[in-house]
């Protein structure tokens, strides 16, 4: 801690900060542009000038840039100094020289940092009387709009894109007053984190193209605290709605999970919520071939419960993309012994193993933010950017953070970004990746080992043995493998805090056991470190804590006729197991009730389809890959703008269906009730109650507002339907009001913030008003409750698994992919446009064996046609296929490949 004196007042601040950071953390306003809490200082924009005095006897002082001056003890500065204020006014006047002043037609307007800073600085008269510079804009792909005329040249975009996120196709061109930020030629931005440019850019140069297609001002949308449903990371999001559609997703600051950044799947993958083909009313289908007919809620409940009442046995199939509450209500409806998680058996075994390793492998699971403090990383069998998006950015920061340690040796503070970059050059903390194909982290990795799942497992066990001789040795290790294992082991042992990363992408228990052994070995050698295990879906962790039989069991019970009714919750079974097995099961079930918000192949087979709410219209709890239970809340009531629709949370459907089935009148339930019911029924989930405040939570006696103060059109937005304005929807489920009325301030600490706004701070930079220090934690506590805790001890080593050996046929190796590899986001148009053309990856040797070459087309299992991609060092005997391409294809399954001759195409 340090004491600094600002405008005559003394304050305690973090002495490792710079003055800008320190003052903003104190709640003092200094305008700034080029500085960003996650990216440090570069001193380019000169906007944050203050007067600094040498000591208390110095009454002259000099102007300094607060972002480039340390908050050292006894620093004396004046923010309100007249000359400093005049200079700051000059800076913003220069920045506005070429700015087009197009705020009324600019999509940034109303959440623009440039607007905020211009107002803060007091610049309101234009003196520059000469011509403005104009620019050409570029097409940058389906995600990002480009309007370079608005640029104020703060360099934040390239610093985020290249230095922070490792991109290489956005650059700085030109010089003097003609600096241009763009690609060397038009084309899609390649970084999977490009969407953050829309928040990093202080003005409207980079804007959200998906938002642009159905634009609404920030103040005209309603928001709720959301959790991204597109992978297991659990990023906190702030979805904005108007007229019954989600208009955009923005980052919601969380000090331990996503901090300021999201991946592009999470930001641009929401389009499935708005699809016009969504089931918005319950449907009844008489026979397998008849068209579905919309029916009323009372009718569908009566008919469905009637059917269930006559069923011999009802199987419930849950879903890792649905909330804990919905899954629990299904389990309660059908009974524990009839409940399946809806997850394929091998994946479920992996999920259970991951929980066990988190508890018993001896190393705790760090938060995603905590990952960045690790100084050596070993990734086994994962391509983190593709399988867990945002997590890849954390891992990159772990590797890059060596610059801070290097800087410490010659006294460069951690915020001096360019100086650290210069000093470190390409020196990173060691990152080793065992994965068959190139990954997005290869550029900062010390080595990548291209191996098949068995090879990766063997390498992991060998590393464990090299760390701790008590760990079982691996038989018949080749010398290259042995060398690699020793190299990795010594790097992990040399680190203060080594990190082991693995996960379920390869659906290999051997790989996970190997990762667990490395963690165990490090723990036994008394290393502080961490273990991160990546799951596939938003609530995979939650479902494995909830428990249930795997999907294979459920299909088996149906196919064998042991049950004649099935209730499927938000799950497309055809994505998980081969169509033949699903068909065999469903065709023997006489009653097929499906709840979903999407029209899936499974929903097509339903005789009752219940129109379920998506994340945007419902509340519930998910458990992310850390084991953190996080609550998401309903953004908008779907019935307000579309009164004819009947969309309800799955847990609400299931609860009422159960009550109807029992012949009871469904009482009032709300989200709190189902949270407590789920927590009470499952000891492992007991902590989920604390994931968020309940519906009785109030600040100053008020609910929390979902809408900003200036929300417009409330009395008229439904006037085309009915001139009388209905009462705003009442929300029994949460502490949020569907209204601008309610608490929306920043003064009272709170963890659940639907949108960040503070007086004078309309842009995403307003999050700084909600944190204990800029870049720190949400003042009311970072949301969520951890459900998985390590148990003392390291457990015992498992034996290395010997691979099945070579087989004659090619086996499927499913490669996770950020765009197109996830079921729901793949239904969003921008994601479809961004999805790369699929191919099948083969080793050159296997390609030769099949007499195919790079670019030849083959058919996979006589159905799917794909071009061949020959990958050097790709393991023989495996064919790489992108996730989500062939529905129901299981990893490791044997494939039949046939070359398509030229004439047959």
């Amino acid at each position: 801690m340090a004491t600094i004196h600002v405008d005559g007042q003394s304050y305690q601040v973090n002495g490792a900060h710079n003055l800008l950071q320190a003052c903003l953390s104190l709640g003092l306003d200094i305008p700034y542009f080029c500085w960003h809490p996650a990216m440090g200082s570069v001193g380019a924009c000169r906007q944050c000038a203050v007067r600094q005095y040498k000591d208390k006897n110095d009454d002259k002082g000099m102007l300094v840039m607060s972002c480039m001056a340390p908050a050292a003890d006894q620093t004396r500065i004046d923010i309100e100094d007249e000359e400093a204020k005049a200079f700051r006014a000059s800076v913003v006047e220069w920045l506005m020289i070429n700015h087009p002043h197009d705020c009324p037609v600019c999509e940034e307007g109303g959440h623009c940092h440039l607007q905020d800073m211009t107002v803060m600085t007091g610049h309101d008269r234009r003196r520059y009387r000469f011509g403005k510079r104009t620019r050409r804009n570029q097409f940058l792909g389906p995600f990002i709009g480009h309007e370079m005329n608005r640029c104020i040249t703060c360099y934040r975009c390239v610093r985020f894109y290249n230095d922070y996120a490792g991109g290489s196709d956005l650059g700085t061109f030109g010089s003097k007053d003609n600096v241009y930020f763009g690609r060397y030629q038009e084309g899609t931005l390649e970084s999977p984190f490009a969407g953050n440019l829309t928040e990093v850019c202080p003005t409207g140069v980079f804007t959200d193209q998906s938002h642009s297609d159905h634009y609404a001002r920030k103040w005209d949308m309603q928001f709720a605290p959301g959790i991204c449903h597109q992978c297991s990371m659990g990023c906190n999001i702030s979805p904005g709605e108007r007229y019954g559609d989600i208009r955009r997703i923005e980052n919601r600051y969380h000090g331990e999970v996503n901090s300021y950044f999201l991946c592009d799947r999470g930001r641009f993958g929401y389009g499935y919520v708005n699809r016009s083909d969504r089931p918005r009313l319950p449907e009844r289908r008489e026979g397998p071939d008849s068209e579905p007919v919309s029916i009323g809620v009372a009718d569908v409940l009566a008919q469905a419960s009637d059917a269930l009442r006559h069923a011999r046995r009802v199987i419930g199939i849950g879903s890792p993309r649905a909330s804990l509450e919905s899954n629990h209500q299904l389990q309660a409806l059908v009974g524990e012994s009839n409940f399946s998680t809806g997850i394929e058996a091998r994946e479920q075994a992996c999920l259970e193993l991951m929980i066990q390793l988190q508890r018993h492998a001896g190393l705790p699971t760090p938060t995603p933010r905590g990952i960045e403090n690790h100084d050596a990383v070993f990734v086994l069998g994962e391509d983190p950017v593709q399988s867990a998006g945002r997590l890849g950015l954390n891992l990159r920061q772990a590797a890059l953070s060596r610059c801070k340690a290097l800087g410490g040796t010659i006294g460069i503070p951690e915020w001096n970004a360019e100086a650290l970059k210069t000093l470190a050059q390409d020196r990173y903390y060691p990152l080793f990746i065992a994965w068959p194909a190139p990954t997005d982290l290869d550029d900062v990795a010390e080595a990548r080992y291209a191996m098949d799942p068995d090879g990766i497992a063997r390498l992991g066990f060998a590393v464990a043995h090299a760390i701790d001789p008590a760990a079982p040795a691996v038989e018949g290790l080749a010398s290259a493998e042995d060398q690699a294992a020793r190299r990795i082991a010594s790097a992990l042992m040399a680190a203060e805090q080594p990190l082991v990363v693995s996960g379920g992408s390869l659906v290999s228990e051997a790989v996970l056991e190997a990762a667990g052994s490395v963690a165990r070995a490090l723990s036994r050698r008394a290393k502080k470190g961490g273990l991160v295990l990546i799951r596939r879906e938003a609530n995979s962790t939650g479902l494995s804590l909830l428990g249930g039989q795997p999907l294979d069991w459920a299909l088996g019970e149906l196919a064998r006729g042991n049950a004649d009714a099935v209730v499927v919750l938000e799950n497309d079974l055809y994505q998980r197991l081969p169509a033949g097995r699903v068909d065999a099961a469903l065709s023997r079930a006489e009653i097929r009730i499906v709840l979903d918000h999407q029209r899936t192949a499974t929903a097509e087979r339903a005789n009752f389809l219940l129109s379920a709410a998506s994340f945007a219209e419902s509340g519930g709890t998910l458990v992310n890959l850390e084991g953190r239970a996080q609550r998401f809340f309903q953004v908008y009531d779907p019935g307000y703008m579309r009164p004819e629709t009947r969309i309800h949370e799955s847990w609400r459907w299931l609860y009422v269906l159960g009550a109807t089935l029992r012949g009871e009148t469904a009482g009032d339930i709300n989200l709190d009730t189902v949270v407590h019911a789920c927590a009470g029924a499952h000891p492992a989930l007991a902590g989920m109650v604390d994931a968020a405040p309940d519906s009785n939570y109030r600040i100053d006696g008020q609910k929390l507002a979902r809408e900003p103060h200036r929300y417009s059109g409330r009395t008229s937005m439904r006037a085309n339907q009915n001139v009388s304005e209905p009462r705003v929807p009442q929300d029994p489920d949460s502490a949020f009001a569907h209204s601008m009325e309610g608490y929306s301030g920043y003064q009272q600490p709170r963890q659940q913030v639907p949108f960040a706004w503070a007086p004078g701070w309309n842009s995403p930079q307003a999050w700084n008003k909600f944190t204990d220090e800029v870049g720190g934690h949400v003042r009311g506590g970072d949301p969520g409750a951890c459900l998985i805790h390590p148990v003392p001890g390291q457990g015992s080593y498992s034996q290395p698994v010997q691979g099945a050996g070579d087989t004659d046929t090619l086996r499927a190796l499913i490669l996770p992919r950020l765009f197109g590899g996830e079921e729901t986001s793949a239904r969003a148009t921008p994601i479809q446009q961004r999805t790369e053309l699929p191919c099948i990856t083969l080793s050159p040797e296997d390609a030769l064996g099949l007499a195919v070459k790079h670019g030849n087309v083959v058919t996979v299992n006589e159905v799917t046609r794909l071009p061949v991609y020959e990958q050097e060092s790709w393991p023989n005997g495996w064919a790489g296929l992108p996730a989500g391409l062939i529905a129901g294809l299981l990893p490791g399954e044997s494939l039949t490949l046939r070359k398509v001759e030229e004439g047959q195409r």
């Binding site: 924009c45 000169r46 000059s90 070429n98 009387r129 040249t153 003097k176």
Partner: protein, 453 residues
Amino acid sequence: MSHSIARQRDSVRYRSRLMQPEAERRPDTHPLTWRLRDDGGVVWLEEYLRKDGYQSVRKALAESDPQAIISTMKDANVGGRGGGGFSAGLKWSLTLQGGDIPRGYLICNADEMEPGTFKDRLLMEQQPHLVIEGMILAALANNSFYGYIFLRGEYVTAARVLSRALDEARAGGWLGRDIDGSSFDFDIALHTGAGRYICGEETALINSLEGKRANPRAKPPFPGQSGAWGKPSVVNNVETLCNAPGVILNGAEWYQGLSGDRTDDGGSKLYGISGLVENPGLWELPMGTTGAEILDRAGGMRNGRQLKAWLPGGASTGFLLPQHLELALDFDTVGKEGSRLGTGLMTMVTQEQSMVALVRNLEEFFARESCGWCTPCRDGLPWTVRVLRALALGQGEIGDIELLEKLAADCGPAQTFCAHAPGAAMPLQTALRHFRSEFAQGISEPRIKAEEG
């Protein structure tokens, strides 16, 4: 090649010529130029060695005491000749060395782009081995691993001469492994720049050398802590490095004595003059020589023109008036008059020349050469250009002069990221101070407003 050099040198526009005959130049008084030939030919290795070449390196390697080199340079107080005037010895003493600090780079700043400056060019075109000799000494003192000459791209002749000289030095055993049997290894690469003024700023130069945008870097850390490729690096101007061999060979006291009692700054200086004078060119004179003496040596103003103002050391220094010609041209004295010694090459302005047009021309240069990193420089300087253009066309408005003054004041040191914008502000500020009426003439009648708003 010698033919083309001769042709260029003989051309009227060619100013980089030494105006002192061989007879006047002596080793003990003209350490920078005594070896130069009257015919302007290159002093190649054989002749250079004959004229005591590389003796300082031999001496320093034999003594093998890098700290002694640094302290001698410090005692001699060789001020940076690129215009900054910072003591080279002090800079060398701050270079990180020893322990597990990696060996870094010794960089010769040969990006001579200061308008009105052509002194390094003479040294490189006619006496390349003196530069190399100075660099070897600096490398020894700073424990440098490798040397670079960052040369202004347009200096094609210097590039050819230096390349050949580097080859000669390598063949002669003065560069490469085990120099002169001392076990000291050092070599130099020539890097020709792409023609940006900002590359003369040492950290922008390093970025450019690394293949990055030529943006200056924040200091601290200084290049001596973390310079090229993050390693301790030293950047010295050509003339500064050319001073080192004399200092090491003859000692700090001798060097201090070169300037006599003219100034506290020691040594000799390559002074020069351009503009409408009878004989523009270069002279090696004691530090602290007056502007009047240099103008006199140049034969006075051409055709009896009247001197209106002059820049003492390049476009980024402040305008001085005729009465300032009597001042000693050293770092302190000129600084006290609101200008800077800069490179010490004077630019003369006659009564006929318009200060508005002249300053407009300078500011266009500075605005064009801004790297675009910090706001005052990137967006402030072009605004001054627009206003100056308007004034030059008689389209100025009331308040324009005050606006220019504010813009110049906002480009002060510490307000901008590097010294580029302060350098651009100095001629503007001084011109406004001394010749305000010329600017006022560019303001047309105020626009008539029908109503006060």
